[in-house]
Symmetry: C2
Subunit: 310 residues, 2 copies
């Protein structure tokens, strides 16, 4: 922080194909650069190749490195095997960061907690309150195991600031911002209102809704479920009989635009294992079975409209 | 952004002693480091030494460098000679950044616009809406002359994002954040309500209030005005007869704590040209002569309380 990254060796950063674009953006901003990221996937979906990770860490011979594990990958809610990655990273003196923007909330239910097992051993973890915690944007959390390190980057001195060595560290010295909007009020209020059990119930209800939608997709001949939902994201595409494989991507992309324009349900498209697909993420406390049960009918209706135009 | 700062030469950063701690913090976070900053002051207050700046830029022989000019320095509202610094920086191929968190607002009144003359030639400028624009924290603005450069740092690609090459660039690719809270609504509302003339009137009123307080200080034998106010910050200390010079810092520091505890008026202490001092900044639209006229009486009353205890 004092002397910057100049003249230092490149910082090795390793992740699975689950890495989120915002992690790359953060690396760009921090002067590490996003081109240094080595993505070690074992398949087209992006699953980590643990042997390749181990080989890469061994090859570094104990030099500093950053390993990024993802809890709740953005396309289909996939999870990296965090515990195994932490174990490898720490054995080879690397920093293990968990991007748990969505997936950290898996920990509130015993039914899904295993997905993010090992997160408690990470060196740093981020999560978003403005997603599953249902508080307004922007409300991210960053946890750092060794809080003293934060002061090296974010600490500062000025004659009109309180001392940095105070018994209770000032948030001024723990994050980029120097002042604070009262974001914590909304967080406190919702935690006070719902608590651990309330959030457990909400997460379990959303996971059940995702499974319900997955079940509907599995029994529909005109849809393809692309990944078994791990949490609250359902990744699928429209695949009616009679449409050639090489036209499915374009059809689903146009359908995605029609869904947004129609507005009855709302979700965007992505590319999952090379296929253009939809990825509804169920996170709003008001979402019910009735909402989820609308989805396939709406997509079918819009698809018929598109196909009759063609 | 792609390859980071690693293995690159150190980035030279030059400023006056007016540099704000947040600029150093930003340099720490960006991987440039804050130790690289060369402060070229010509006096204890921090005024830029233009000859030293020129010599430093000449010595760089056209290598990339960043020059930071401050508009509205935090202790006494001082201004760097922006036009002269821009001219020097650009002649030597350096980037000229203006920290105008407070001072950019000097431009709305012809009476103070000259203080920030040349700001329109800068390569980048920041200002805070949550100060003189009277909108809630956090609402900063960053202006960059060549907007295409922003995409190199903040641009990103993901299958579920809109294209980066769209005709109207998405804010997603222009700043650190990926989504946006509706901060702009408050900014739009206040600009629509007051407009250029409304803000001109507000700035002129606040500058007049600062000069009024300075006048009261100049005619009070127990206070010392430490800098002629340039804008809305008045830097002064309590200096009653009979208190030795070497006790004034401690007296003013204790007095600062008493002012905060008392709560009738609110301002913190700083260190200006080596002296512990107060720095009320007048920026709230509701502040009137009545509020400003309270200040010296309150400080005197609290000082008498402290001295009678001693």
């Amino acid at each position: 922080a004092a002397r910057g990254m100049s003249r230092l060796p490149v910082v090795p950063v390793i992740s699975s194909g689950y890495i989120h674009a915002s992690a790359e953006k953060a690396l760009s901003m921090l002067g590490i650069g996003h081109e240094v990221v080595r993505v070690l996937s074992s398949d087209a979906v992006g699953r980590i190749d643990l042997s390749a990770l181990e080989a890469a860490l061994v090859a570094l011979k104990g030099e500093p490195a950053i390993v990024i594990a993802t809890a709740g990958e953005v396309n289909a809610g996939g999870f990296d095997p965090i515990a195994a990655m932490v174990e490898l990273a720490h054995r080879h003196h690397a920093w293990l960061h968990v991007d748990g923007a969505f997936g950290l909330f898996a920990r509130v239910s015993p039914a899904t907690a295993d997905l993010a097992a090992g997160v408690e051993l990470a060196d740093s973890v981020i999560a978003d309150g403005h997603k599953w915690l249902n508080v307004p944007y922007d409300c991210g959390f960053a946890f750092c195991r060794d809080a003293r390190l934060l002061n090296a980057v974010f600490g500062m001195n000025a004659p009109y600031f309180p001392p940095t060595e105070a018994e209770h560290p000032d948030f001024l010295y723990l994050a980029p911002e120097m002042s604070r909007r009262a974001r914590s009020l909304a967080v406190w209020a919702t935690l006070a209102a719902y608590g651990r059990n309330g959030y457990r119930a909400m997460v379990e209800r959303h996971v059940a809704l995702a499974k319900r939608l997955a079940g509907q997709l599995r029994t529909s001949s005109d849809f393809e479920l692309l990944a078994e939902p791990r949490l609250n994201v359902v990744c699928f595409r429209y695949r009616p009989e009679g449409v050639p494989q090489d036209e499915l991507d374009q059809l689903n992309r146009r359908l995605g635009q029609a869904i947004i324009a129609d507005g009855t349900v709302y979700f965007g498209t992505t590319v999952y294992a090379g296929k253009v697909a939809f990825r509804p993420a169920i996170a709003n406390w008001r979402t019910t079975e009735r909402d989820v049960d609308l989805i396939l009918g709406v997509v079918r209706r819009l698809a018929e409209g598109l196909r009759s135009q063609a």
